[in-house]
Subunit: 410 residues, 2 copies
């Protein structure tokens, strides 16, 4: 497997400040490989609110079911994430492994088992030996520090070629609060769910209910707008934590005006993390934004945009720096959404290639070919029927994707 | 672009006998490349019945619209198919090109323009200069012969690496009749439509209405069960012709018992052609059959089977000879159909790898790894909920697919 960093990776990693009330530690528990950091423990101050959105897979992993069942409690004491094994499709053993992991974490951290949240990422179907956590959990809890964000982002990587981190600072009711986020994910990425693993923590005081509403809304405009290969993981998890350490008057509703700036910063952080995932798409060499306007509705625009973003033929054309807009027409046609061929127009960047259902009379192959050499490509389609708009992000499809996925498990 | 023949191609091409009432001729009209056979003319005896099923794309090509509008007439005099240009997304010019082509063919063959059927395959969005047919049409009509089937199959190829032909001989009301079929297609192949270009001709006497019913039913069990990349062409066309030259009493209904053997042979021929398309999937090295049983309904089984067959992660795992059944679980989960993780079982060939939602207790990695080295792979999933069954065919996803599609247009 190639370990070269994606050419679309940010030139430098941001430095994340501490989030008061959150401590992080990582260790090598030998889940799948020895000598490789593969477990993250995060501990949270008492009373930290928790929210989460999870995969819509009908075959979710054991940790996803564990988290879903405990979300109503509204508070978190510890988060345990391991890489190397997804603990998915592992039956009764899988459920036992989640229970044992939670028991170990609760004892080490000193919280209730129902306040432990879990995630596992890696191979599906291999039994997870949770006893391996036994040897490291106490030390993790003792070692946890406030400035461990980059190490945390690295510990949850699988086929990722770079760690994914983002941070924001914003005012809530006169207090300056921090929002930190980390994510992992490079393949088996598609929307229609809360994609891959991503964790966002803030020291703002926000109720679990408000945080959940905020998270669901922002997920829809960020992680649910990114796709690498249209495949949906059994383990996708996006969680948010609010420790309250900043000391603002606790916000009870996502629509509280005092939360407006926070909500905007929160959403932009999630978009940044989601885009980092597309930028690390397996084998990616180009970052692609697909914009669909003029659809009959926002939902229709989104389905058309995803049909384009998921089309292997569109993605290979981008890889080949070929402005093959005929394949964009194909992808619009197969989306099954209202479309009138004779009203379609298509742009690559600022270059209009098709209008009113035909090649643009001013079509200039040299101009559009030059545009396709860029590392960031915009494909913009106007359906010409209504006001529906959507924007999604993806990457190109290269030989690298095949090489990575044809030998991932072996 | 590689021109090596797919390793999954049949070892030899069948020799197709004549179908009385059908004559074929090919020529190099210079549609896109010079000196390359790129146009097929088929002529039909007066009174030949016609049936067709076409792409469900919302942005169909001009020839698809032309054919749909004329199908109700029920009879065909001539068929013109060109490769090199799809005449899709070509607006008014595209419609004018179909009209001119039909006019030229009707004059050359001596039939009505409304009895001319058309198809174009190749690049989307380039205007098709139908005047190029003018120089070749009369000669094509004069040269047409009954034994031109292999040449016809070759003339409609684009990225195909081998011509696709099949034949059957069967009794209808005491007369022996022939069924011949040809097809083209290698990428931009997905079901939910009548896939790619395929033409089936017989000398049996069958009404257009009966032929249409027969064709729609058989398409659903053949071409609609094959997928290469999940992409849906703007031009997909499957047509059937019945000349009546065999002299059987004309069959008026697809359910006529006299047609039973014919219907079975017709369907098996369509399945053979559809499988040939998957065997020529761009870059394919393995032929994959996906069987889903125990789903809540046949439709549900089919959606799950297609979710597996279209998953890039499943297809790259097969390419890597990796029995990565976790990805099969993932694809079942993302299909959105009823499924209960704890009832799933999965086989690769005869090797059961998972049962009751866990890895098979008798799982033998060496055994299943050996199986994955085969050129033909069966992935069988039992959902454990009901009686719904479906079978679809696909191929693996290799670097070859990327290489072909990243530089197809250039």
């Amino acid at each position: 497997m190639s370990t070269a960093v994606s050419p679309l990776a940010p030139k430098s990693l941001p430095t994340l400040p501490p989030v008061a009330g959150v401590r992080l530690a990582t260790a090598a528990a030998g889940i799948r490989y020895t000598e490789r950091t593969d477990v993250l423990l995060a501990t949270f101050a008492p009373g930290t609110s928790v929210a989460g959105v999870f995969t819509r897979s009908r075959c979710p992993s054991a940790p996803v079911e564990w988290c879903r069942d405990r979300l109503a409690g509204g508070s978190i004491g510890a988060l345990v994430v391991n890489s190397g094994n997804a603990n998915a499709f592992t039956g009764k053993n899988g459920r036992a492994a989640t229970a044992l992991t939670a028991e170990l974490a609760a004892a080490a951290v000193g919280c209730s088992e129902s306040e432990v949240f879990l995630a596992s990422t890696g191979v599906i179907g291999e039994p997870l030996d949770a006893r391996k956590f036994e040897g490291v959990m106490s030390r993790l809890a003792a070692d946890a520090v406030e400035d461990g964000w980059e190490a945390a982002a690295r510990a949850i990587m699988t086929t990722d070629t770079f760690p994914k981190l983002a941070t924001r600072s914003v005012e809530v009711s006169g207090r300056t609060v921090t929002i930190n986020g980390i994510a992992k994910g490079a393949g088996m990425i598609a929307p229609d769910m809360a994609t891959m693993l991503a964790y966002v923590a803030t020291d703002a005081a926000i109720s679990a209910q408000a945080l959940q509403a905020l998270l669901a809304r922002a997920a829809d405009r960020s992680f649910n707008c990114v796709t690498v290969d249209g495949d949906t993981s059994t383990s996708d998890t996006l969680m948010a934590f609010a420790t309250g350490a900043a000391g603002n008057a606790k916000i009870a509703s996502a629509d509280d005006p005092a939360l407006a700036a926070f909500a905007a910063a929160f959403e932009s952080l999630l978009i940044e993390l989601a885009q980092l995932v597309a930028r690390d798409g397996e084998g990616a060499r180009k970052f692609v934004t697909v914009e669909v306007s003029g659809a009959e509705s926002e939902a229709s625009a989104r389905r058309i945009a995803l049909s384009i973003a998921n089309s292997p033929l569109v993605k290979t054309a981008v890889a080949g720096e070929d402005a093959n807009w005929g394949r964009v027409v194909m992808a619009v046609g197969k989306a099954g959404e209202p479309a009138d061929r004779d009203r379609l127009s298509i742009r690559f960047g600022d270059v209009r290639v098709a209008v009113d259902g035909e090649r643009d009379p001013a079509y200039d192959e040299a101009l559009v070919s030059a545009y396709m050499k860029n590392e960031e490509i915009l494909i913009a389609v106007d359906i010409g029927l209504g006001d529906g708009f959507a924007r999604v992000w993806t990457c190109d499809l290269t030989e690298g994707y095949i090489a990575i996925n044809a030998d991932y498990r072996s």
